[in-house]
Amino acid sequence: MAFSTTVAQKKHVKRKAPRGFLKRVFKRRKPHLRLETRSDLLIHLNCLLFVHRLAEESRTNACESKCGVIKKDHVLSAAKVILKKSRG
């Protein structure tokens, strides 16, 4: 027996990937393309890493301005940097 997609005891995955959402988004934008079944998990991974980087950057910005709360300008400046980085 090769595999099981769910763990025996708990069938509840923490931080489930919104696979349907990702597939729908991709289909909306590029209807002529197809998405492989496992690649949406990697897209989810990519999103996680992107958000992670964004959060780190905005946190750095907030700490530099000695603010205890992340404000929108911190996020904006962070977004500029990270989006440029993730351009590929």
């Binding site: 090769a2 492989e36 996680l48 992670h52």
Partner: protein, 502 residues
Amino acid sequence: MADRYRPDSEPTTRTLLQRVLDTADLRTPRRRRSRRTLAQRTFLESPASKRLSSQTKTTTRRRSHGARSVVRLAHVQANGDLEEQTPRTLLKNILLTAPESSIVMPDSVMKPVEVSKVVQSSRQESSQGSLELQLPELEPSLTLAPGLPAPGKRKQRLRLSVFQQEVNQGLTRSQEPPGNADVSSLTSSLSLTFATPLQPQSVKRPGLARRPLTRRAVDIGALLQGLRDNSLASAPPADIVLEDTQPFSQPLVGCSPSVHHSLPHPSHIGIEDTERAVSHRRQSIGPGQQSHISLPCSELQPQPPEVTEAVGSQEVMEARKSKESSEDEDTSGRPAGPELASSTPDLLKTKQPHQFLEPPSLPPGVAVLSSEPLESMPVRLPPRPRTAGPRHHQDPYKAGLSYYAKLFSFYAKMPMEKKALEIVEKCLDKYFQHLCNDLEVFADHAGRKTVKVEDLELLMRRQGLVTDQISLHVLVERHLPLEYRQLLIPCAFTGNSVFPTQ
């Protein structure tokens, strides 16, 4: 010596120790090590005796553990003994000193005759444990036998509390202080362990034995009286309240006189209310069910507002139907006051055909009345306008984005503004655009129309997430849950199979 075997109806400490003594006959290792030095023996015995005494203390509280602990003690004490210091003798001394029916009779605690037998052997055991007991009632019961010989054995006293010193001072001494202290403390402590059983027992009772709940007997008369008061007090406002929710708006003003003129017979009104509530409830539950009268009474007690509602509904019903039925009920209800149980089934039977006359109208009213929060819902839902249109684009898309935005707040580990979250969502939107474009380019470059894993890996490499040091598998392992890992990373399984296949 108390060698007689007690019936096991009440496992006292004595019985437990006795049992141990009986069973512990064949402990040969004990004899082998009889040549211990004094210090070793005392050292061994002091924790053992301490354990024994602590266990005796606990046995007063929990009988079941006594045998086990004593057995353990005997086992521990197997090593070091002189002939007069054997666990047997120690336990026997305990049995001697422990009063017979210890718990109940604190007066019989001190038995000088038996105490005299304790002698030097008993002094060590449980004296340390007795120190732990620290019972304040030690002073009054200090009538130890003066004839206790105290052997001059100095042994380690692990803890000599203040009260113990007081005990020593309080006791009449005939021998040197330590021995006497030991014996007296032992006996007194032992006696006290049994002398003050009332308190620990009273303490332990709430924990172990549930006190039977003392329920106040339900006074039907008082109940009905209270119901009547409730109905009278809240009838006018209840009518007003119910008036809004009744689907068929009956002249409730006419009902209130019916309530008021039934005032002169309060008990009967109460009975009638219970009947009405019974019938009402029966309606709501299901037709044709004759339940006990006690049941509605018990039901009524926690739900007086429903009774008032029931009263209101019944009043409405009666207003709809002919008044004669209600008056008949009144007249029949009045003489039937004392014989509630007999009359109410008849009344209910008479009422039920009346009620069944309008089942279609009533159940909605009943259902509406059954719970007030539900009342508002059927009223509100129809007039709500349906929002159609761009729902399919915006809402799930925003929901998905907000999912990632929540992750952003997790990763940031700092408090954030709501506006910042919105910006994150916009950012994600742009990111998705870029992502899809890039994937399209990569797939086209590879001459495919399907986006595959290799395209994603290339994308991540270009983004700088996947490097020579960090491979994609590493990232997968770090950030994705286990189930996805299983899907993504090829793993070897039994039968020479690899999943997922490459």
